[in-house]
Symmetry: D2
Subunit: 495 residues, 4 copies
């Protein structure tokens, strides 16, 4: 069932220009604050700081003590929520918000989070970062039991589970709901009395607790706290539910204890470099990946060239470790606009140059190493290597600051089908030949763990969610048995 | 809970320019067709013909044998559905559609009908004209039972009742649902196998069956059939449910038999003059009201002047019966635009002239009678009488082609609160003085029945739904006990 | 040279729905006020009253004693100028405005009037209703002399003539400019000291002087005065230039005296029925055309049916004179929207019904006469006659309240090329057969003059501009010698 | 005279987020191609590559051998010209285009370049980068002579001069026109036979000649040639006019010979780092500024931190020369959106963080030096220094890779009034105190010349246009005698 609204497509500005879908896409960021007079303005700023986690849509729900207020918009925070009138409509001292890059469900307004429902005990809003691996299974059972699904998001499933719990207290119903979930999630929810945060049992997606003017805040990353001048209190732990109310913060543990296993891609690509994720600086992690790469795969070169912007920290780390000059060999055009549709064949062929251009002065006649964060389909890499050669580079070596991606993700990262992952279908030499580089190397899995300070990967209890490199999925994949992992929307089915 | 979307306010073009809310507003029109290759294009035309029943939003759902397709837009059919791409997206041979003037629920996209839900047996779409008098009561019970309500429409209540029925067959579940309803409704619904139509036990809101190229059609009024060149088959009867499928039309009677009691306002104001409603020509009915008015309240005048456009047929009837020339004493400006906000005090004072102007040549020095269809708040009438005097009319008499409105409606007509109904708070002479006319008269209730061909009103079994004139509500008003009749949205409540 | 802007096409709401270009289009309306504190708001209202003269664009220029302010918008007054912020930006006590239906020049913002130029003595704005018959000739000469033309409007030519005059005083330069013009024009212009009005030597296009609160007003029609409660002072005379300043109204006569010869189409179609044009009520004129038609062409019928809305006054006159009931046999749908593009063949075939529908109850089994104001291409008439027959009319007679149009206009009315004028290529019987009516008749030219109170048409000095019926053009057609009359834009030429 | 259109404000994405106007703004970029079948698509790409020179509006004019076609849009190339329909409307094998950041004239559509005029010999379009220092003087004279000015751009003045030349050939008229100009300009113009390029006598603004598929191209910078894979042929020389036609490239020299004196700000800030301007790599120049800065002003620090993005190359040069690690101590948020209006006081106070955030991990506990390209008002620098301290930097030193700006520009760079230039009103210590840095230093004027390979500044014949640092303006400033240098629009004057 298609739906159309007056909307515009967003553009991912910080990462590779996705001419060919050759990128990983973040899925979501969440934010919440309880009891602060500037709740809506602060949530706006927090979501702006989390914009790199989702650029398609923004939503916010506030509560003013009597009524809930909601705003949902397609596009960027700065475009949609920078109007005073919008902030003023979101009355109240508590609010939650969400930025979204749709992984499941089309980007239609009714899918934009937070979702809201009127429950028996009052209104309830919830926003979700992650992806359930039993979302379809749960949805089918709910529909069989007479539920009506109007969106195609996992978040609606959570609302239904909550609404159908027979427990008397809202928190108990919320715990009933999360206990039914499998997969990855970081949730923020708002009732007429409480702000709730929850992280899945493995802590796959991040969530932190902050404090501003004595009021508590939940956010996907610490950069959202820095934006508003809030203090970082601590990470929400894996499997923890925190309940923030007039009485302070209460911590609940609805799951049996187990070690955390956060997603490694937050370090490689998703989180902002200035965030501290699970106690580690993302910037330092990326520099360490680059340094480790220089150790594992030394190559005789004249300059180190980052693929902007995601390859920059690793390239700095590489250059420092290798003692080779770091140079801007690729210049990025930030003015690509929302929708550079390529109207003619001539323009399509020049595609990659719309976003990147070679800085001839820095590379002509030089032996260069290109540093990128990860390799997905490889189509952009082909174009960048060719562009470097056309600009006169004598040798072009390619290094990736992460291991080969061989398996798709089902926890909220929008990876291509397995057949389209270059590393799933090519060996190293075939990849090198495809990309056209003089040499190609990836960071090793062990090197990845080393760079993050681990003695190595514990094969019996891996310290990170790393299935994209190892195939070792940390949770059951129930929906895979009932449907194609890509076909997450029942709305399109009819029998 | 407020919601905002990029939308624009529509304008009611055919009726009095609603500068002061001094008008009745229609609520909705519905249309459906089963098994025709041009289903979406035909539904577009049918909805365009029903546009006078609702100008705020349009929606359509089609079914192509495998998938449902939906389009929902704020604004007019001609603005939103006249694009080939929109029609082409609505694939399939069956479709239902809806035009809406919101009575309950704000006009946000998620409230635009048809609503759609994925049920256990497949997709189901439903569109509704009318208003339930136990909608809040049902909604509260559903929420108590764990249902999630995301829109504020009665239509969602119907979907929930259907989803929760334990009956095995869809039709049985639909009958379960309608049996729980009180109030006025004309429904069209579309499953993956059937097109369903239903009219409430009293037949308050209209619904007709038509046929084009051997395929069946449901529509609020016959003018929608005329638009597409379809044949009128018959009215759906009060309390009837018709099920249209590959096997033809099946008629079901889920309610105990009772006499029909259609809403008299369809004749007075809502239906298009070229429609045949419940077997009567609306144009002839309005002319008969005007003629009866001339009989009941003769006055010595030089010209008969209609208040355009809704007073025109009654004025023609009056002029023919009275033998007095019919003249365009008021010229209507059709170019008011969507949103003539009155930016300054100077413009506000001239308000009524934005839409109406006096035709001095036709009235100066004359004794005139103004004929309008009904009197709500009276604020526009005051301005029109004054405008006539300023243009030189020697005497200004005012006649209404319906009785005094003393009670609000709860069946889908958007009437003001009782305190704002002029006839509820003023006697005849006070109304005349307020309006500033030389004389004022209304059609009598008995005259209304006579004009429609009845021997008179049967006080024990009134032949029409006429509570606005009589206070005789035809169904229980359950929601009145649980909430203010105006406060129909639980979404705004929190406790 | 094409230009594109974010714009939307307007729709003519008051006249026949122009599915086939089968209509005459008005060209423009002008308004001006001098020295009133609410100048912009009053001009907005005045332009709204003149909206029937042009729906494509609106423009206004005000002067605040120091600076000029301009706003130009595509669309209706009520859509574009009803925002308080727009009115507030148009500061000052003097303003002129313009509504436009483009006849020459595409509707791009830079063509929207009033045009403004910085002259040696200060700013000067001018707005124009009409069309020059030597506009291209003048433009070519100006370009040869080094002028730069950036719009494609005649109005720019006027500005250039003024700028190049060597006279010291602005008014003398204005008189220099108008003396160079041939064709039809009613101008309003605003300098930093004066409001100027001018009407061509024959007074082809209308212009009136009004007064409100002691301040002078210029407007195309009296209905604009009525809208704002202003007093009608007098018509600007043919060949008169009025200069309004702090010192009052000064009247100049730059041309040799000659009898007025106003355009007859203002009575037939263009002016609003409530306007008084050149001393005659338009409504009374149209009724008189209808009455004259009943005398000239009696026919035995049961009902008189107007083609809405332009045929209504003539139909009332016809019915009163013939003593036959006037009935709404055609219902008009006012909700056609801005752009009912007909997305499919099925919809295109039903085209005319999008705007008009047959009122079966009023015409089935009856002998009817349809009254329309004029016949252009005839394509809509074909469809309406067919619609009447399909709705059961026993006989369908067709009467036009004006003579056959055999010649195109070059004075501001957008007529089709001569080959597309039905009456230019068909005799009466061929027209009747084409339209499919049982009989067809036009008002005679003599009858037209009689109905307007003349003893008859004076062939040596016709009292009206009536070349569309007679081929008797009142001015030289200089541009016809230099270019196709349709090709009025030099901007598209290159050599 | 204000003009309003449906438009949106653009945002400068590559440079400092201009919360306080604390930035220099580029003015324009131009592009032209002659005789290539993909002229419009290639011009689109070329303008996209020049987008950093102007983000407010884009315009293009093409010529198809018979007609000129124009498109003018507010916003980015990628938003406005990426639609196939737009490209297809721009038919023809020759085209010129323009991106604009308005320095004179408001950004209204009619000011968007290229401007077009119909001249005696045919159509002529011209686009301009730079600013005339006698534009007002010329405009006044033209108006006195009867010219009409409808835009507020210098470009219109050039068109008028051309139109009024009495020379028979177009090129001679063009030379007449440029000989009247004072100031800085790089022009591209298109007639129905020729593509013309011109650079002012001192070559202040850049213009290069390129070649693709044997067809000639003109562009502001070489990065536009690289974008489309074109070959760099040579710089257009100072005072040179090139005429490109079917016969190839002809070079004209309308001015007496004099040494070039290009604008130094192209190296410091405006040109893209991958461009080669006047034979020098911009990237290498910026690195050399940074290296020279490290030599001139050594300081004992732990890390070098660029102010992104404009300070990056200089910071790399500084770090390499100083042998200190280069670190991303400031993270830039690229998702600021078009219009992050700051709706509340709370958000306004956090202003700078909307665009920049401190990367605590890289700077906490460290002694850092911030490298920025130039200092204008200093307001952003204050916030960045404070942000660094709040993030834990032990010492914060500030270095500017250009000398103090003490004088405003009148050649196309939008500098603040002199009173608002920090270096014009504060000595070095006062600036340091204002900014709050531990130390502050600027590149010296001599160092600037050294870094660019000159033995030093020749005071008698300076090799560069450098008045912003020296007050040594290279041309007369005629308009300064007739008007405030800021008041460049006559349209707002009235007397």
């Amino acid at each position: 069932m298609s739906e159309t609204y007056a909307s515009y497509p967003p553009v991912g500005a910080d990462h590779d220009f996705d001419l060919d879908g050759d990128t990983l896409r973040e899925e979501c960021g969440v934010f919440g604050i309880f009891g602060h007079p500037d709740a809506a303005a602060i949530t706006t700023l927090g979501l702006h700081a989390l914009q790199h986690r989702g650029q398609e849509a923004v939503g916010m729900v506030s509560f003013d003590g009597k009524r809930f207020h909601a705003e949902r918009k397609l596009g960027l925070v700065g475009d949609s929520f920078s109007d005073r009138a919008v902030i003023e409509r979101l009355e109240g001292a508590s609010a939650i918000g969400h930025v979204r890059y749709s992984t499941t469900g089309e980007t239609v307004i009714r899918n934009v989070q937070p979702l809201f429902a009127e429950l028996d005990g009052g209104g309830f809003a919830v926003a979700h970062n992650g992806n359930l691996t039993n979302g379809i299974t749960l949805r089918r059972q709910l529909i069989k039991d007479g539920a009506i699904c109007q969106s195609t998001t996992d978040t609606e499933v959570i609302l239904h589970l909550l609404a159908r719990s027979r427990k008397p207290r809202l928190i108990e119903r919320f715990l009933d709901a999360v206990r039914a979930l499998e997969g990855a999630y970081a949730l923020v929810a708002l009732s007429n009395k409480k702000l709730i945060g929850a992280r899945d049992p493995l802590g796959i997606r991040p969530l932190v607790l902050g404090e501003l003017d004595g009021k508590y805040i939940l956010a996907s990353e610490t950069c959202a706290l820095d934006m508003i001048g809030a203090r970082f209190v601590r990470d929400i732990e894996n499997g923890e539910v925190v309940v923030i109310s007039e009485d302070g913060v209460e911590s609940l543990r609805p799951f049996p204890p187990c070690p955390a296993r956060p997603c490694v891609f937050e370090y490689i690509y998703f989180a902002r470099p200035d965030s501290i994720v699970n106690g580690r600086s993302v910037y330092e992690a990326r520099k360490a990946f680059g340094a480790q790469l220089a150790i594992e795969n030394p190559v005789d070169i004249d300059v180190v060239v980052p693929v902007p912007d995601s390859g920059v920290p690793a390239a700095i780390g590489y250059a420092q470790k290798a003692g080779v000059p770091y140079e801007l060999g690729i210049i990025r055009n930030h003015y690509v606009g929302r929708t550079f549709i390529q109207p003619t064949q001539a323009i399509r062929e020049l595609g990659v140059r719309l976003k990147h251009s070679a800085n001839r002065a820095a590379i002509a006649g030089k032996r260069i190493v290109l540093i990128d964060d990860s390799l997905v389909r490889g189509t952009t890499s082909v174009k960048i290597v060719r562009m470097m050669r056309e600009a006169g580079a004598k040798e072009v070596h390619f290094r990736l600051a992460s291991p080969p991606i061989t398996h798709p993700d089902f926890y909220g990262i929008d990876t291509p089908e397995r057949d389209n992952l270059l590393a799933a279908t090519h060996d190293l030499e075939a990849m090198r030949a495809y990309i056209g580089a003089d040499s190609l190397a990836f960071l090793s899995v062990e090197g990845l763990y080393h760079a993050l300070g681990f003695p190595g990967r514990d094969p019996h209890a891996p310290q990170l969610t790393d299935h994209c490199f190892t195939g070792d999925y940390p949770t059951p994949l129930s929906d895979l048995e009932v449907a194609s992992p890509r076909k997450l929307s029942l709305l399109a089915e009819a029998d």
